[in-house]
């Protein structure tokens, strides 16, 4: 069964990468809707990635690096070949921008992982996660990476329900779906999150 799930997951990832490549191509061919979709999908998780990497930075610094990353990614879009997930590609650009920024600020403190992120899923299976692990930079980055790669409606539902504590009714309104359909989206989103969390991390921490 596990093999079936892994196989399905691999196929799904391949198909998603193809979709991401197609979206990127639409942006470079002048499709404004595609640009909006790209921004809608990746702007927030990219910001979160930079926020956690620049732990302790002022909000203006986070925003500046975020803007620089978006600009650089846009300019480099023709070079995206779909060889990795689009968000992984974005994060690699962000890491360079963060490094540039840290050099300018003479900042060298980047917290390193204490718990390998791939072990999170095992920890979750063994009881409540200790607070210190939940708060770790590596944990936060792993969560952002996973959320950044989920379909937009899954991420929207999970963030609204669990990060913002909204009721299922409100999430339904946000998604423009019925209550039942939203419960179903949430269920599938939780499963996708768990599956992605169990997978090998693509973002090098």
């Amino acid at each position: 069964m596990t093999a079936v799930i892994q196989n399905w997951e691999t196929q799904r990832m391949t198909s998603e990468t193809a979709d991401e490549l197609a979206l990127a191509r639409c942006v470079t061919s002048g499709d404004e809707d595609a640009l909006n979709a790209l921004y809608e999908r990746y702007a927030d998780p990219l910001f979160a990635f930079i926020y956690h990497r620049l732990e302790g930075a002022r909000p203006e610094e986070t925003e500046e690096v975020w803007q620089d990353t978006l600009s650089a990614a846009l300019r480099s879009l023709p070079t995206y070949r779909g060889q990795s997930r689009f968000f992984t590609w974005l994060c690699s650009i962000a890491r360079h921008k963060i490094a540039d920024h840290s050099r300018r600020q003479s900042r060298t403190t980047l917290n390193l992982s204490l718990v390998p992120p791939e072990d999170l899923i095992n920890l979750m299976d063994n009881g409540p996660l200790p607070d210190e692990i939940v708060r770790q930079q590596s944990t936060c980055l792993r969560v952002v990476e996973v959320l950044g790669q989920l379909p937009l409606d899954y991420r929207t539902a999970l963030v609204a329900r669990y990060a913002d504590g909204q009721s299922v009714d409100n999430v339904a309104q946000l998604l423009g779906k019925s209550y039942k359909a939203t419960e179903s989206v949430l269920s599938r989103a939780r499963e996708a999150f768990r599956l992605a969390l169990a997978g090998q991390p693509e973002v090098v921490l």
Partner: protein, 459 residues
């Protein structure tokens, strides 16, 4: 849900809260700045030429594309290093990215379009740049529409009512939108709308874009947009959709030179669609923008509905005040204690299935007949708000004359049910009831406002 599942969900919630907490997400302003900046750069890099190529006459496409590309290769680097790059360098300036976007469009228009269109685009670009750093704006005008109708509604047969918008851009976006029968505010955190004649309100954390996303004027109420974006969007739309642009100059009474840009906007909707001419964007219009030649500032706007019988003025923006300071109380509404609140969520009924299985026609009949019987409890099963006294007085005791076959309209996520009723006063009303299905309860609900606005003449 068993213990492990509960624990899993708790763990999942804690992880998501840690990774995607509020501080780790851009706020509304930052998000808007990010998108504006990205669009400006995108237009410069990829946007304009592609869209122009799409809308060029196929007969001329090959030759124009070639000359446009050649000109683009020869001249764009120079232009980018001057106008666009300079604008983009100020990316944190409110609206400058929009102006940069407009500059990118005008560059291509200059290369590929007749001089009059190119000049019009230049004037629009200059206008977008002139208002790129606003701290606030106040607009006042006249609109042909029912005084209580939605802000984006138009009604060519109605008289004019005043419409007014105040928007503060910094330090955080706030706005107030007002017509005689309807006022809405966004205080930066939450939205309140009040229909004073019906004593009905809607409030909550709902996005402020919801009521105002239809047309050019209302895009200003979008917290991530300002007048610069609005002008840029108008130009952008004109280019992308192939609308005719023209330019004239004239002198005002005081001798100042004015630039007049006219845009012939086409809705592209089916000829017989029910919602045609009920919204700005659902109508073919001639839009006249007047800019001061020296400052580039937008001074007035007139919009005419284009019809076979002749053009008719439907909107006039005759007062534009820039950079005023507003009293914070402007962005608050004190609601009366007895106000009826619009319910975001309908509740399931014990016999919900009975209503969920109704067709739109059956539901309309049940709803209208309940009003006739003055059975308010039954009638409220088809509404998202309670029935106020004025509605009860007007529609209580009505007689249902006929119900027709329901129909749809482009972009409307519901159905319209034709009906004829006779009020107790003897007045006959023929209209269409807008009915939407609630996703949670699967029941039809009255979305048309025809029993709310109490303004049958406007329908």
């Amino acid at each position: 849900m068993n213990d492990k599942e509960i624990r899993d969900e708790e763990n999942l919630a804690r992880l998501i809260r840690a990774g995607f907490n509020r501080a780790a997400r851009p706020d509304t302003s930052a998000r808007g700045r990010g998108l504006r900046h990205l669009k400006g750069e995108w237009l410069a890099a990829y946007g304009s030429a592609a869209r122009l190529e799409e809308q060029l006459d196929p007969r001329n496409q090959a030759s124009v594309k070639m000359s446009s590309t050649r000109a683009h290769q020869e001249q764009t680097p120079y232009e980018r290093n001057t106008l666009i790059s300079k604008l983009s360098q100020h990316r944190w300036g409110f609206g400058l990215s929009a102006a940069a976007g407009a500059a990118a469009i005008v560059l291509v228009v200059l290369l590929a379009f007749p001089k009059a269109q190119a000049t019009a685009a230049e004037v629009m670009t200059k206008g977008a740049q002139a208002v790129a750093r606003l701290t606030s704006i106040h607009l006042r005008g006249q609109l042909r529409a029912g005084p209580v109708a939605n802000f984006d509604s138009i009604d060519p047969d109605a008289g004019f009512c005043t419409i007014e918008l105040w928007k503060q851009f910094e330090p955080e976006p706030k706005w107030r939108y007002e017509k005689p029968g309807r006022v809405a505010v966004w205080d930066g955190q939450s939205f309140v709308m009040f229909l004073n004649t019906a004593n009905i309100a809607a409030k909550g954390p709902m996005g402020p874009r919801n009521p105002f996303n239809k047309d050019w004027l209302h895009q200003i109420a979008n917290p991530t947009a300002n007048l610069s974006n609005t002008i840029t969007n108008e130009l952008n739309n004109a280019i992308a959709k192939g609308w005719k642009l023209s330019h004239e100059t004239g002198r005002a009474d005081d001798g100042r030179l004015k630039d007049v840009v006219t845009i012939e906007a086409k809705s592209g909707r089916p000829d017989n669609d029910y919602l045609n001419n009920r919204f700005f964007d659902a109508a073919d219009t001639r839009r006249i923008y007047v800019f001061d030649d020296q400052s580039g500032l937008l001074e007035s706007v007139k919009i005419y509905l284009q019809a076979a019988a002749g053009d008719k003025l439907i909107f006039e923006l005759d007062q534009i005040d820039y950079n005023q300071s507003f009293n914070p109380s402007l962005f608050q509404i004190e609601l009366p204690p007895d106000v009826s609140l619009f319910q975001n969520e309908m509740q399931k009924l014990p016999d919900n299935e009975k209503y969920a299985s109704m067709t739109a026609e059956q539901a309309a009949r049940a709803y209208i007949e309940a009003l006739g019987r003055q059975d308010w409890t039954e009638a409220e099963k088809f509404r998202r708000m309670t029935i106020d006294d004025r509605t009860k007085k007007t529609f209580g005791g009505l007689e249902l004359v006929s119900i027709g076959e329901s129909f749809t309209a482009k972009d409307y996520p519901g159905r319209f049910v034709p009906y004829v009723i006779k009020l107790r006063s003897g007045e006959m009303i023929t209209n269409n009831l807008g009915f939407k299905k609630d996703g949670r309860t699967d029941r039809w609900w009255d979305d048309s406002g025809c029993f709310v606005n109490l303004n049958p003449t406007s329908h």
